[in-house]
């Protein structure tokens, strides 16, 4: 049974909204964002409201076994074609290894539910660990823009559609021979 659940930001209750804002403004997360400035509560609420009218962005609170673990997003959505993924874990889980599972299910959501043909990712050049993870996932470097790597992964190259998470994890760690 898949125990990872995605809850659209537009369906979050007040406690969940507050929790996500606290994560987003924590130094561990904020320092990795394009915008490192602190987000105020009203700005956060306005942003969530704006998502209801915005078809180019989808944000999800992700939970494993009903325990919130992080945020997964699709931005720059071109319906039925492509989107850029983004994610962050709750600060206590950074470096725990659970991010691989969250990304795997997030990408399945993108390719299968939303039927994107291509997913994109942006990684800070200084974040080598994240870059290596994206290469393991199958992303290819498309171009470099300033301080960022721009990566792409067409649906037909995504091995996760053929493998469950345990198989996929084994595949990316041990290599294509597995």
């Amino acid at each position: 049974m898949i125990d990872i659940k995605f809850k659209n930001f537009t369906d979050l209750d007040n406690d969940e909204l507050e929790m996500v804002l606290k994560w987003r403004n924590s130094p561990e997360i904020a320092n990795k964002m394009n915008s490192t400035t602190t987000i105020e509560a009203q700005e956060h609420i306005d942003f969530i409201k704006s998502l209801k009218e915005n078809s180019t962005k989808l944000y999800y609170l992700v939970a494993k076994k009903d325990s919130p673990i992080g945020v997964f997003s699709f931005i720059n959505i071109v319906e039925g074609q492509k989107a850029e993924i983004g994610m962050y874990l709750k600060p206590e889980l950074i470096g725990s290894g659970i991010g691989l599972e969250m990304q795997y299910y997030g990408m399945k959501l993108g390719y299968n539910k939303f039927d994107f043909n291509e997913l994109l990712a942006t990684v800070k050049k200084s974040n080598i660990e994240n870059y290596l993870i994206q290469i393991k996932f199958g992303f290819l470097l498309n171009k470099i823009e300033g301080d960022f790597f721009k990566l792409t992964l067409p649906k037909e190259n995504w091995k996760g559609n053929l493998l469950n998470f345990r198989e996929f994890r084994k595949h990316i760690i041990l290599g294509a021979a597995q």
Binding site: S67, S96, G97, R166, K170, I172, I173
Partner: protein, 76 residues
């Protein structure tokens, strides 16, 4: 070899790939991340290697962060 000894061997294999010195022993309270310097991909490697050896997914019920927590999963 018992579970703890096998775990030590696997951890040292991962550390060797990262050019980190081998450790002589592990203690239950040791943090995988802070004491053993394992990052996200290293933890995925650890998980896969343990799965190969013990047929147990140490992450199936949530996050594990210490040697003691890993051993509890392996002995369950």
């Amino acid at each position: 070899m018992n579970e703890k000894e096998k775990l030590l061997v696997i951890i040292n294999d991962i550390r060797e790939d990262k050019d980190l010195v081998a450790i002589e022993s592990i203690k239950d309270e040791m943090s995988l991340r802070h004491d053993l310097e394992l990052k996200s991909l290293d933890l995925a490697t650890l998980t896969v290697m343990l799965e190969e050896e013990f047929d147990i997914d140490i992450f199936s019920d949530g996050v594990v962060s210490t040697i003691g927590e890993v051993l509890v999963k392996l002995r369950a």
